[in-house]
């Protein structure tokens, strides 16, 4: 990243006229949600979802003076049993998620692919290798399905709605793949977090 995470947050905050964001608590955080409606959109219906079973937010916008600099976008599968599973192990190696990240009325990630076979890892090493019984030899890889924002972290400012639009395809045939109730797609956004800090204001 060209700027440090903190510098980028302050740069964007300054552009948006958020003069008090610099006094807030810097932290690390992640938000997650699952497309339980199979609508092709994640985070937009978070307010109706179980917390923390499905999501850890109550609405798809941050409170006053809270923000998240997104540095890693990841996808997973949530089954009806509530267990998080690897996208490749459910959908197969040829599946690909093509997604947009929309903040306010602006698309900030455009037609970005995450390949089930293992999205470009950039600096990450390979995914976890799955094992059978303890001591058993490795049987397969569980690839990563993440986009590392090495180029530029993207700030979700306070009180602006965001969501992820996605579709699933078979990259071999080009056909779309429909999610089911037992194979719903989840997404998390991880990065540098800004938390509301009362110390300077109360």
């Amino acid at each position: 990243m060209a700027l440090s995470a903190q510098d980028k947050i302050l740069y964007v905050a300054n552009k948006l006229g958020l003069s008090t964001l610099k006094n807030m608590q810097g932290s690390t955080g992640a938000v997650y949600d699952v497309d339980t409606d199979i609508s092709g959109q994640i985070f937009s219906s978070a307010s109706r979802h179980q917390n923390p079973g499905v999501t850890n937010i109550t609405e798809n916008q941050f409170e006053v003076n809270e923000a998240l600099l997104v540095e890693n976008i990841a996808f997973y599968v949530l089954g009806t049993d509530g267990i998080v599973r690897n996208f490749q192990s459910v959908y197969g190696s040829s599946a690909v998620i093509v997604y947009d990240l929309v903040i306010g009325n602006k698309r900030v990630m455009k037609d970005t692919p995450v390949f089930a076979a293992g999205s470009p890892y950039t600096f990450a090493n390979a995914g976890v290798k799955s094992e059978g019984a303890p001591g058993a030899p490795f049987s397969s890889y569980s690839p990563r399905h993440q986009t590392f924002m090495e180029g530029a972290g993207i700030l979700i400012p306070p009180q602006i709605q965001w969501y992820v639009d996605y579709r699933i395809f078979d990259v071999v045939t080009g056909a779309t793949i429909a999610a089911t109730d037992s194979t719903t797609i989840g997404c998390y956004l991880f990065g540098t977090r800004v938390l509301l800090n009362f110390n300077t204001t109360i």
Partner: protein, 195 residues
């Protein structure tokens, strides 16, 4: 020079707009049923591909868009959705051509995959080896895709044709599909306050 600085430098040299939404950009293109061949050209043919097989409609970026390539990613899949060694285990080289200039020339890829794997950089795991001689399936991968991290920032400017070319001595690419993705930092068009 940072990637942001380099992209701005190249864009300004070409007189291209330097404004726009900074983002992480991944371009990808698929070749269906490539068969056995000594040459593959990615980002050349878009006919008949769906949005799940490419995210471009032509072999150039829009007039207000540009990017820096940091990583090149390759995979080969069968019609049964099984990930395979790219091109079998054949020795292969990769070239990236931007405009009329070769910007990556005959870079070997076989070291970053499969049983030959010793990734160029220390930050990536190898492409994978045969894992305990298990039979791979769609849901059980025993190898990883090829990924090569570039040491220099390769810029694709706006409206300049580009291509990724793979050469081998009769590489076996199968009847499924091969995919190439270019990942890095980019700028996408942002209307801003002008619309």
């Amino acid at each position: 020079m940072s990637q942001v600085g380099k992209l701005g430098y190249v864009d300004s040299k070409l007189g291209a707009p330097t404004s726009g939404q900074q983002t992480t950009r991944i371009l990808f293109n698929t070749i269906e049923n490539p068969g056995t061949t000594s040459s593959l050209s990615f980002f050349k043919n878009f006919q008949g591909l769906t949005n799940g097989q490419t995210n471009l409609t032509q072999n150039k970026l829009d007039s207000m868009e540009s990017m820096v390539i940091k990583t090149i990613w390759l995979s080969q899949l069968t019609t049964a959705d099984i990930l395979q060694f790219f091109g079998g285990t054949a020795q292969q080289t990769l070239s990236v051509i931007v405009g009329n200039q070769t910007v990556v020339k005959n870079l070997p890829i076989q070291f970053n995959q499969g049983i030959n794997g010793q990734a160029f950089d220390r930050l990536h795991e190898n492409g994978g080896g045969l894992v305990d001689d298990q039979t791979p399936t769609s849901q059980s991968q025993t190898i990883q895709p090829v990924e090569i991290r570039l040491l220099t920032d390769i810029v694709i400017p706006p409206q300049v044709a580009f291509e990724v070319r793979i050469e081998s001595n009769a590489g076996v690419y199968g009847t499924g599909a091969v995919v190439c993705a270019l990942s890095g930092y980019g700028k996408i068009f942002s209307a801003g306050a002008s619309f």
